[in-house]
Every structure is written in structure tokens, then in C-alpha cells.
Amino acid sequence: MKTVILDARRLLCPMPVIRVQDRLADLEPGTRLVAYCTDPGALIDIPAWCRINGHHIVETRTEGDDYIVVLEVGRGGNDRSI
């Protein structure tokens, strides 16, 4: 399974969500994306965005100052229209 890392540190919401959204537009379904964020709001906003846009949250966790969201691109969920 392909895994892609996204560094969204020092960005405040909704920028981490926008970075995730834009990065996902190029990824195939089933790809995993690991987003590193420093805004704790990302732990709420990225999963919410994934739920409404058809992607799957695998895990959310905190490591030191980083808030990490692991998600999997949904089938047909990646939005290339943006």
C-alpha cells in the first residue's frame, strides 16, 4: 500500500484541510496519507472533511507537538474537479 506524507505543521485550520484536500486530488483510492499538523483543530476538521467527502480515517494521534491524522483515499472519493 502506497503511503504519502503531508507536512501541514504551523498551518491553522482550515489550511491543513485544504492541503489534505488538494493532495488527495492526485492520489489513487486505497492510498494512505499521513498528515502532520500542529493545529489541534486538525484532529476534528480533517476527519469531518473526510467523512463528507468519502475518505476513511485510519487513525488520529498526538506525538509531542504534532497532531497526526492517517487516512485512506476513498474509492471514487477523490475530487479531481477542484
Binding site: R10, L12, C13, P14, M15, V17, I18, Q21, D22, T38, D39, P40, G41, I44, D45, A48, W49, R51, I52, N53, D79, S81, I82
Partner: protein, 347 residues
């Protein structure tokens, strides 16, 4: 087979856009949402920065609304393009640096481009005639339709019956009878409709969702433009205007002082971009110097920062001063007294 009619809605996260979408959704139209991020949006930012807000996790209301409605939400970064709206609004500013009418024209124009690119049929907004003093008046709402290029593809479901018929109504994509005729500043009709739809949890109207409508924020932005000699900003500039106390003791520099731990942590991220000061002999805030400061200026800034530390009543406070190159030195100063910090320094 009947073609599925599709509309895109401008979603701010407030009650009006929530209701506007629901009204159209209930007529069998497929709706998706667009939320624009200008950099000035109130949503999330200050809550993410300030520690005291952390006890109550902040949700993004646009995402929340989309989830309640079961629609996709496209969040578009328009920071760069939006600058022209802020710098040169054709229709001028409101009470502060808020270019509300130009902003609405711009956003509807972007939505119009989006529907053309994505094969959608029309645009929905939650606008209500007479609700806002600049962009939602009987005489300015047609300006938004016309200047955005959306013309009669722009439907305002909550106020449609006060406005000329639009193409979605003429084509039978929606029934005018099932649209509303709300007008004025009262929120009562919207609240009643929300109750009828079973929405009991929604963002309360709080005077807009844009920092440019805030007098204090606008004053700091105007100061930034004045002392830089041009209307210009980068995203870091407008983020920093949301954080800390801003004091300008001299025309060539200002000091941004964290007000609490969350802001201090946020400002830490800017230490490599600004000369920064931190008290070491007493608990105190982190501060950034924005501008070119001489040794004498740094001394004054240090005395100012000491004023906001726990050592404000002592004869001597020691600070660490770090340059953009990361090189640090210690400085011992006498904190400024309250009388030595004129009100005019506060932005």
C-alpha cells in the same frame, strides 16, 4: 430518464446557508458546498491559537453544516486572488476595512466559474434582502448577480419571493412556491424554519465571519499598510494581526507580545523570521519585533516586554534577545511603568 439538477452553495457555516441548502435539497436538487478561505476568516483561527479556548474544542462550522446536510464541501484557498478585493474594492469599504459587496461579487463569480467547470446548473446563497447593511440590500443584491456574471443563475432561496424570478425557477428546477420571502434583520423567521427542519445546533450569528469587519483588526491592518508604505500583506502578516498585543513605540517597528501561553506557543513558530525577546529572570511573554530596530529600539522593546512580565514591579528584568540568525544575547532592563506606555502605542 430525468437529468439530475445540480447546484453549488456558498457555505459560510452560519444558519442562512444551512437553511438555503436544505430548502433546495428538499426539492430534489443535488447540492454541493463551496467554502472560501480568504485568510481573514474567523473560523478556527483564534480558537486554535488561544489556550483558554482549548477546553471547548472548536469545530469548523462550514464542515459541520456540510455534514448536517450530507453534502460534499470544497474548501478553496483564495488568499492570493482575494488581495485585489481587499486593496481596491470597487464599491468601497464598510464601517471598517470590510469590502463586503466586492467580496460577495468575487465569491459568486468564483462559484460561477466553478459550476461552469464542473457541469453544475446554478448557485445558491443564504442571502436575505435587508439583512446586511452593504451586501444584502435590495439595491445591492442585483449588483452581486450582475457583476459576478452569474446573473439569473444565482438563487437566494430564503429571499427569492422578494426578488425577480431566476432561471432555476423558470426552468422548473425548483418551485418558487416552495421558496421563501424573508427580509430584514430579524433572525426569527430563520430560527423558526430551522426548528421546522429539526436543526437545533447551529452557529449563532455573531456579527459576521470575517476579521475585516472587526474595528480593532482593521486598525492593525491599516497601521501595517501605513508603516510599510503600501497596501500589501502576506498570509503570515494577517495571521499575526490576530495574535497578541500590538504596540508601536516608534514608526520603524512594532512589538507583538503574546497574551497567554497558547499565543506564545504560536509566536514561537515565527522566531526565525523576527528579532524576538523573552524574559528569563521572571515568567513573561514571548514577543516579536516587526520592523528594523536599532540597539536603542531593542532596549525600549525589552523594557516594554518586561512591563508585561511578572517582574513589572521589580527594578531589573533580564531578557534573552534572539536575532533572525538565531544568535542570542542577554539584556537587563528596567521595566517601563504604566505611565511610560502611552495609549497611542496600542494598535
Amino acid at each position: 430518464m430525468t437529468r439530475q439538477v445540480k447546484a453549488v452553495a456558498l457555505i459560510s457555516g452560519g444558519l442562512d446557508s444551512l437553511l438555503a441548502v436544505k430548502v433546495v435539497q428538499d426539492q430534489g436538487v443535488h447540492v454541493e458546498g463551496i467554502n472560501f478561505f480568504t485568510g481573514f476568516c474567523v473560523e478556527g483561527h483564534t480558537h486554535a491559537i488561544r489556550k483558554k479556548e482549548k477546553a471547548k474544542p472548536k469545530r469548523n462550522n462550514a464542515l459541520w453544516v456540510a455534514e448536517q446536510l450530507g453534502i460534499k464541501l470544497h474548501i478553496l484557498d483564495i488568499i492570493e486572488e482575494y488581495k485585489e478585493v481587499v486593496f481596491n474594492p470597487k464599491h468601497g469599504y464598510g464601517a471598517n476595512l470590510n469590502p463586503c459587496l466586492d467580496c460577495k461579487v468575487f465569491m459568486v463569480r468564483k462559484a460561477h466559474e466553478w459550476i461552469e467547470r464542473n457541469g453544475f446548473d446554478f448557485i445558491i446563497t443564504g442571502e436575505v434582502v435587508g439583512q446586511r447593511p452593504m451586501s444584502q440590500r435590495r439595491d445591492t443584491m442585483p449588483v452581486v448577480s450582475r457583476e459576478s456574471g452569474a446573473d439569473d443563475l444565482l438563487l437566494r432561496p430564503l429571499s427569492a419571493r422578494n426578488l425577480p424570478e431566476t432561471r432555476p425557477e423558470r426552468e422548473g428546477w425548483v418551485s418558487r412556491d416552495r421558496l421563501y420571502g424573508f427580509s430584514g434583520r430579524s433572525r426569527k423567521p430563520q430560527m423558526e424554519l430551522a426548528q421546522r427542519f429539526g436543526f437545533d445546533d447551529y452557529a449563532q450569528p455573531a456579527g459576521g465571519c470575517c476579521f475585516l469587519t472587526d474595528a480593532n483588526y482593521s486598525s492593525k491592518l491599516a497601521d501595517l499598510w501605513r508603516f510599510r508604505g503600501a497596501k500589501a500583506y502576506e498570509i503570515d502578516d494577517i495571521m499575526l494581526l490576530k495574535v497578541g498585543r500590538h504596540l508601536r513605540p516608534r514608526p520603524n517597528f512594532k512589538v507583538i507580545i503574546a497574551r497567554e501561553e497558547g499565543e506564545g506557543r504560536f509566536l514561537q513558530g515565527y522566531r526565525k523570521q523576527f528579532v524576538n525577546l523573552e524574559t528569563v529572570s521572571h515568567p513573561g511573554p514571548l514577543a516579536l519585533i516587526d520592523g528594523e530596530a536599532s540597539e536603542e529600539d531593542i532596549q525600549l522593546a525589552a523594557r516594554l516586554v518586561a512591563r508585561y512580565s511578572k517582574g513589572r514591579g521589580d527594578d531589573r528584568v533580564e531578557l534573552q534577545v534572539s536575532g533572525r540568525d538565531g544568535v542570542s544575547h542577554r539584556l537587563a532592563v528596567v521595566p517601563l511603568s504604566a505611565d511610560e506606555v502611552p495609549e497611542s502605542w496600542h494598535l
